[in-house]
Subunit: 264 residues, 3 copies
């Protein structure tokens, strides 16, 4: 089957950096299919990139090779790694970027550092490992190299600390962890958190807006008013119908979101 | 032949939503070729998306499957549909988005609602039909499903009302219907409208600028001055040579554009 | 082998113009692989596009066909051309855009004007040669046409004048020639220029900031402070660790950059 390589970076689309990674891949693995997940992760935003990667990986075929590069530490001590799970292979810097997607797979993983010369470009720069290390390693994996070929085994990977929601008798307390292209405010309160807390009569608050209604489709919101919804990531999201919630509510990553029982 | 699926959405490129659609397609139709038309339609701008789709479809091979998702009513009563014409297949919400591209094909069409479970993901969210309904349906069509397999027949589709230009003895009166990436102002006055009105001596006006010269190549405009031209969509466009007409003229969608005979 | 066509334009990603080029290519060369280098070159910025193209081409497989369209003179006298070097084929307007990438290949080149009807669309507009001339020509080249088939030979191509750095006993004097997505300021001072000037004890200055440290990895910079580094293009770049140097330093294309010996 045609191997599939996905790319996620903070390189943007203007400067050709992502295109160069594809050029390197095509040279080594001409038969590989390449799919962009995103090249517009905010610059150096490891957490944002990690969340997008985690949300996307489950929808790709088993055996896909996911290359992710949000890498403010490029050229420093952080290791370039390959991680294999039962369902996928990950390639990127060991800075937490890959951790949530790997953890979401739910099973064991194994990790190796990309050190062996055949799996990197002959001259490795200290500024562009996407081109010189990650793309070549992924391409070699796509054409038959095994993860253990790339270098020495490493037992654990750098975790990513995500803010956790808090549940008490009074309510759920979380925060916005990601703002998407539509200005939708994605919180760290999950559908399961909500279910454990109460099954009806919920009241959602953000900034000075309370009683944000919890709906099941965007179109159920009142025009230009805030609504809360379980989104496609399985998380509680605050949106504004046909509008931009981030601007409308003056909210951003870190803004607290609370859920209480109505009338409490 | 390798099936071709095009994608047009307002999902942006940052959050992985378009990538997720591609992951779903690759899982069902590994041999399909996927081409992006746009993921940067303005949020919820059904008309803008419809115009871009209409402009692009004629340039794709016969039999291409065009998936378009600008879908403020996702999860509400609007139906997810498949439309077949003699030359192409369309997949998207029945909210007018597909209508101009279908109409531009000039022949009959048939339409079906996507309701049959094998052609949707097992769990359909109410927030992301691009992933759960449209991508799977398109992918199944790419690997041999027939349009009539997806669900019940529907006789007509939701139309899209586009503002029409008016022709009188005094002149043509239209408006800007789309502003592109360059700031070019595309009007609803067609090359045919112009030809019917007069073949020479035309004077184009927009906002307080009159006598905008009608040229046949951008480079014929005076530096930094407004020009009018029949553009690649076959419509009258106001541009500024090496500049941004929308900013230069303070114009946007809805701004009136008029054409009169010079000296009248 | 599957032919590879790259695309670089200033068309942006919103309006479907790049997608239309791909539709045209797919119709003529269904087996061609298409890779985007960039569609976000600044509007009409021939120099910026030329620099990105030059930086990317060396990383694509031999025989790749590179289509580049930043073309303010579309429809005017400037010729549409095909250039063949030993390692690649280039397709685009003869306005300097292709010249630096061709020159960087270091060997001889041959050039032809795209004039023969079979290699263009039947109706060639004067506004969108990407669709009507460049995409069809590249697609035909991908499926077996020879460069000499497209039209008459042309001896030379339009050069692109890039500002040159100056070396004196006092120091190197250059300027910013490109600002990338991260706000990194890429100068026209090359690694070789630096090596010729001095091998240690260098002091870099930009605007009113002097003694910018020359480091070998971004992570060696002090937080939020300017650093200088030889970047992935092989050029001296001013960056700010985890920040945006263009904003931080109020610099842009044309801003002078100087290198002196420390203490001088």
């Amino acid at each position: 089957m045609q191997p599939l390589i996905t790319l996620l970076t903070d390189f943007g689309m203007a400067d050709g950096y992502a295109g160069i990674m594809k050029g390197v891949i095509c040279g080594i693995a001409p038969s590989a299919r390449i799919v962009d997940i995103s090249h517009q992760v905010a610059a150096q935003d490891v957490r944002g990139g990690a969340l997008v990667l985690r949300s996307a990986v489950p929808f790709f075929p088993r055996g896909s090779i996911h290359v992710a590069v949000v890498d403010p530490g490029v050229g420093s001590a952080r290791a370039p790694i390959v991680i294999a799970t039962d369902a996928a292979i990950f390639v990127g810097p060991d800075n937490g970027l890959l951790a949530p997607a790997v953890a979401a797979q739910g099973g064991p993983y194994r990790c190796w550092r990309i050190e062996n010369p055949p799996y990197r470009r002959a001259a490795v720069s200290r500024t562009f490992h996407g081109r010189d290390v990650f793309a070549p390693a992924a391409a070699h994996l796509a054409v038959g190299a095994r993860p253990e070929d790339v270098g020495p085994r490493q037992e654990t990977i750098e975790p990513l600390t995500l803010p956790q929601s808090q549940c008490s008798a009074a309510g759920l307390r979380g925060e916005v962890i990601y703002v998407d292209h539509f200005g939708n405010l994605i919180s760290n309160i999950s559908a399961d958190d909500l279910k454990s807390f109460a099954t009806a009569g919920l009241s959602v608050s953000i900034n000075d807006v309370s009683d944000v209604p919890l709906v099941s489709a965007y179109a159920q919101g009142a025009p230009s008013a805030a609504l809360a919804i379980i989104n496609s990531w399985g998380l509680l999201e605050i949106a504004v119908r046909d509008g931009n919630a981030a601007r409308h509510l003056g909210a951003s990553a870190g803004t607290p979101v609370t859920v209480t029982r109505s009338g409490s």
